[in-house]
């Protein structure tokens, strides 16, 4: 077998437990404990992109432009694309007359076009809330949150919905958790 043939290759086993590095490690560990708090207080808003690129034959591959779908950016209140706005409006009309299944269906159509649009997930959560499908409402709002970093309005909206849903489920501790987030984030 291949692995037997290759057994003769030199094995890279790293000597562990060297004394010198160990002291160094301990020192830096202590040091870092002191400085880490300041790092925690300044969370990075902008994920770095260095090194995270695919390289073929020594050349990094270019990033795709929005080649098929007009995806919504990760955060921010940029205007929605015309088609998604149209579908959201349709869903709104359907929701107003209590046709929740159709409203959800329209929002799902929009989501197929912009799956990373946190606002669409939030709208869908609202429809589920209307349907008293509390658990699904919570889950969809949570999904919206993962796509809405930096959009505090949307985050707050989702937290309200989650708190209310947990209340409806009689899970007041969980509801309280999201109310707390609301008060904290208002500063």
């Amino acid at each position: 077998m291949a692995k037997l043939i290759r057994k003769s290759r030199p094995t890279k086993i790293i000597a562990i437990g060297l004394v010198k590095p160990f002291i160094l490690i301990t020192l830096t560990f202590l040091l870092s404990a002191c400085i880490s708090t300041s790092i925690i207080d300044v969370p990075s808003q902008d994920p770095v992109e260095v090194e995270d690129r695919a390289v073929v034959n020594g050349e990094p591959l270019p990033l795709p432009d929005n080649n098929v779908l007009t995806a919504e950016p990760l955060s921010g209140d940029r205007p929605m694309s015309a088609v998604v706005m149209r579908l959201v409006a349709t869903a709104g009309d359907q929701r107003r007359i209590g046709n929740w299944v159709s409203a959800a269906s329209s929002l799902e159509r929009a989501l197929r076009i912009e799956p990373r649009n946190g606002r669409l997930w939030s709208r869908l959560a609202e429809v589920r809330y209307d349907q008293k499908a509390w658990r699904q409402a919570i889950q969809l709002a949570a999904k919206s949150n993962t796509l809405s970093a930096g959009n505090s309005n949307l985050l707050r909206q989702n937290w309200v919905l989650m708190a209310n849903s947990y209340d409806a489920l009689g899970e007041s501790a969980a509801a309280e958790k999201y109310r707390e987030k609301l008060t904290k984030s208002s500063y």
Partner: protein, 829 residues
Amino acid sequence: MIGVNANNGRKKAGSKKTATKIGRSTTRSPTSSGAALTKSSKGRTFLRVVRFWVVRLVLITLVPTLAYTVYLDVTIRKQFEGQKWALPAHVYTRPLELYLGQQFDQALVQAELDELGYVDRPSLDRVGSFKFSQNELAIYQREFRFWDGLRPQQKIRLQLNSGRIQSISIESNSGQLSETEIIRLEPRLFGSVSPMSHEDRTLVKLEDIPQPLIDGLLANEDRHFYSHFGVNPMGIARAMISNMRAGRVVQGGSTLTQQLVKNYYLTSEVTLSRKFTEMLMSILLEFHYSKDEILQAYFNEVYMGQAGNRAIHGFGLASQYFYGRPLHELDLHQLAVLIAVNNGPSFYNPIRHPKRSLKRRDLVLNTMFEQGVIEKPEYDQAINAKLSISPTAASAATLSYPSFMGLVRKDLQADYKQDDLLSAGLQIHTTLNPRIQQTLETAVRSELAAIEKRKGINGGSLQVAAVVIRTDNGEVAAMLGDRNPSFSGFNRALNARRPVGSLLKPFVYLTALESPEIYSLASLVNDQPITVTQNGSPDWQPQNYDGLAHGPVMLIDALARSYNLATVNLGMELGVPRVSNTIRRVGYQPDFSQLPSVLLGAVPMSVVEISQLYLTLASGGFKTPIKSIRSVLSGDNQPLSHYSLDIEQVIEPEFASLINYALQDVVRNGTARSVLTGFQYDYGLAGKTGTTDDYRDSWFAGFSGNYLTVVWVGRDDNKSSMLTGASGAAKIWAKAMQKMPLQRLELAYNDSVLRREVYYSRDPLEQDCSLSRSLPMLVESLAIENIPCANRLQYDLEHDDELQHFEPLPGDPTTPRTKKKSWWERVFG
């Protein structure tokens, strides 16, 4: 049906017997009465006896005949009424949506229109046509009942600008113009749920049948349809004379009604008794139903051909099958072909026997002209038309996606009664994307052959199973359960369970990363020999694929290079039950072994089952049930159910981001590096290779921002495929993904994720810390990972030729095996 035939036979035999008895008694009686003249008293008694017997005999004969007639009557009515309503559930693809701002792929839209049977015409003068010009695509759309409402016939015009759709206008049939943001092409009907008889049909109403078709059919098959009573004695006589003259059967005297009856009991049996029953049933049918009802039933019932194991019944489906278009869109010459086909479904099949079919079509047109059904100009135009079976439409109709249908059936059986599926005419709107399916099929066809050639494996010996799923909603876009896409037997994607090998490793690492105060991507794990002692089993000593131990390696590298020792060490540290819990939590339902070999994927799973686990990762930690159906409409177009988007967060988003980052590293720097070759853009692809012992199973599971594709390659006899995950499944995966409309995978980092520089040394002894890389790290991990350099080493992949270890050399002594191996050795090398 068999029961009915058997009964018929018995009853007929009985009635024949009584008939001969009557004959005998009637011939005897005159001679007996002659004798009675001389011996009157004796004669009177004798007459009484005779009368008694005659009455009895008549009764004996009449009663069964009547009973038989009643029986036939009930049978034929039941059949007629039953067939009138028995409609199998029809299964549709997803509709193609076209909207503002969308990048316009002309080839893709054209392929879709072709499959839908739309015809490219110089002007939009009829429904079912389209026209491409410089910056515009115009389509005259058919009416279609979508789940959320009826879309009427309409003309749409898409204005294109620099490759994108700039505006969409709609012109209604009344000429009203409006602008819109989004339109849909109708989905394509591609299959039906009819597991018992495999009979398929689409129902057409008489008023929707083109008049030339009705006239042409009657002119050719039954000129006196509207005047006879089910049987046409003149016709039979005429047929008999010409048959006798010719010395063989050249003409049939059957009426349409008789043909319909014959179709209900499709058998090739030609006996006198069969003919008699047929006539009797025809007369009964005419007695109960109007001519129009019978004609409509005829158009929907008759057998028109065979597509695989699917029997094409009725003109409606035949029109779809041969032309890819509804009946009312066909030209006269095409209708004539259908009349020809009806006369001999396999003999005049225009796809298999175009010449024969054309000749018969011309005969049909001739008869129509002679009978005055069509005028000279129409005749001339039709007779000069080519036999225009659309090759795309013809092949599209045979594209029935049996693997995907298997999934649809499975999903339907969970929610619907078998009877409803077979007869209620349900309309099933699925998630199948024919373009993605085509891409997958093409990739499998070309790559599987290339792999076999490259590896010197017998052509055709490898098998494949694959699935493509939308990551945001779990919709299955494409599926293959066999290397032959039209094979409808064993569906490997659903039913073949194979050990998934290293595909389970990410869940070991995820379990670790979920304790951020203990593990981060930069944590060192020990890639060193380990012996696992198990009660009742021999000791287990897993090995790396390259047979080497690499010492302390970063967690992210251990996964990227798929080190077995590091994984088992880490997994034993975490505890097998914890890892098993993770596997269950992310979406694996069935029970599985709790032995440490789980850490290296000794869990047999189907492609669909393992893809459920990866879907949870691909959707950022939200478990999303895999689905094949969007909605179901009843036979009378009422929405029955909508399969809504259903998600459940089972991994916290920050942990999902970390493991996905690691899986991206597998592609960027690890065992799956080779898949990048051929990609034009950096889609941030994430994935994992999987190989099992003796290279039996070659797996690859990977995703972009919008599609997850899982591929298995192996052999049905479970012998070595000579392939690793990278040299087999990953090749097909890459080929398929390269042709798909991908979106970049963007990891949703939240505030708790930071980027940290992690330092490396080139030399283990000097600890020079001269190299660094930036890794995402959770706030909680900072305390444990603020260690410059530590024992981290840079492995030089170019010289370390890690990837080469995964390529078995041709002629490797892998197959001959004398020593019996223990169970885990059989699963992993």
